[in-house]
């Protein structure tokens, strides 16, 4: 993992995510909503996306639909990071379609722990 796009509207989380990734030697950029995320994708293709679920005005599936409409972004792995994973309600098929590798609960997995888990998932 060399460059991660963080899509998160809560600055308290995005700041910690960026710091934890940096500690692990990974560069990252923060987008606070879907529009920013698409703009960032236009500039540089990330190796993975950390995506909050309930963003405003568009939620994660809406953003992922938009991202997936860009042909070269289809296979970017996505990690959903939400306080409300019980509500996420994505089917296995949807996860496959959106390249969602894992869903993490913010109240149980702190940003530093998330970065560790992502690294372990990334290790073959």
């Amino acid at each position: 993992m060399s460059y991660i796009l963080i899509v998160e509207d809560n600055p308290s989380y995005s700041k910690l995510l960026k710091r934890s990734l940096s500690r692990a030697g990974t560069k990252s950029i923060i987008a606070s909503n879907g529009y920013d995320a698409i703009n960032q994708l236009d500039k540089k293709r990330p190796s993975a996306i950390i995506l909050d679920f309930y963003l405003s005005p568009h939620n994660a599936p809406e953003i992922l639909n938009e991202i997936r409409s860009y042909g070269d972004s289809i296979d970017i792995p996505v990690y959903i990071y939400s306080s409300h994973i019980d509500d996420v309600g994505l089917t296995r098929q949807q996860c496959e379609n959106y390249s969602i590798k894992a869903i993490f609960d913010k109240s149980k997995v702190a940003p530093a722990e998330l970065v560790d888990k992502m690294a372990s998932l990334d290790t073959p």
């Binding site: 600055p11 405003s56 005005p57 939620n59 306080s83 509500d87 702190a110 530093a112």
Partner: protein
């Protein structure tokens, strides 16, 4: 009869769900930053901003619980809410100052407009007025887009002071507006994006208890929330 019960149970479930949602977010921040501090302490380098993040998220949780308790009390109580003359200028400045940490965190500026020399006195309950404005402003801070400041405006109309919170957030749907009007139907069983509507609901109940009219107007890119508070008289308090 059974269908009515089922509907009200669903609304109550959605309301509880919104409370859990709005409490889980700051509690998750507290946990994350506490773990960060543990590591920082072992390394001997603690960032002041990390401590502030914990303080701010703790205060957010406590205020939410206080607001909920206050609204539950209001709904149970038959007694009138005590109102007192308040300087509107002073109240606006205090609410803005109280939110300085949140607005800095989200990099959103709050601008106060329309204040005139000599304060206008209105009849309201200080704590409820501050909490109502604070809830509207917090929603504005969290869900606005772009760099435009959030405006807290005071306008004098005949016998009234109209307080406006002007944000740059997405337009409220009719379902969202139900929360402001006090209906639990405004809480969706399955949210799609953005706010849980709890702040709107709490604001609506608080202003209602003060007999303050609340109005909503979507605008080109954003929203205007208006609180119409009866003036006592024009006087200079300072």
């Amino acid at each position: 009869m059974r269908r009515v019960n089922a509907t009200s149970d669903m609304a109550a479930d959605s309301f509880l769900h919104a409370i859990v949602h709005d409490l889980k977010a700051p509690l998750g921040v507290i946990r994350s930053y506490s773990l960060e501090l543990e590591q920082a302490l072992s390394e001997g380098v603690v960032e002041q901003s990390d401590i502030q993040a914990i303080t701010s998220a703790s205060e957010e949780s406590i205020k939410l619980v206080q607001d909920l308790l206050a609204v539950f009390k209001l709904q149970k109580s038959q007694t009138e809410l005590p109102l007192a003359p308040l300087s509107i200028d002073r109240e606006l400045r205090i609410v803005k100052d109280e939110l300085s940490g949140v607005s800095k965190n989200y990099q959103r500026e709050i601008k106060i407009r329309g204040l005139k020399r000599g304060s206008t006195a209105v009849m309201a309950n200080q704590w409820y007025l501050r909490r109502s404005l604070s809830n509207l402003l917090q929603n504005a801070i969290k869900y606005s887009h772009g760099k435009k400041p959030i405006v807290l405006k005071s306008i004098q109309t005949k016998g009234f002071t109209e307080l406006q919170v002007i944000d740059n957030g997405p337009e409220l749907s009719n379902v969202d507006l139900l929360s402001l009007q006090g209906s639990l139907s405004g809480f969706k069983t399955k949210r799609s994006a953005g706010s849980s509507n709890l702040g709107l609901y709490l604001t609506g109940r608080m202003v209602e208890a003060m007999n303050i009219e609340v109005l909503y107007q979507p605008q080109d890119k954003g929203n205007v929330f208006m609180l119409r508070i009866p003036n006592i008289q024009q006087l200079s308090l300072f």
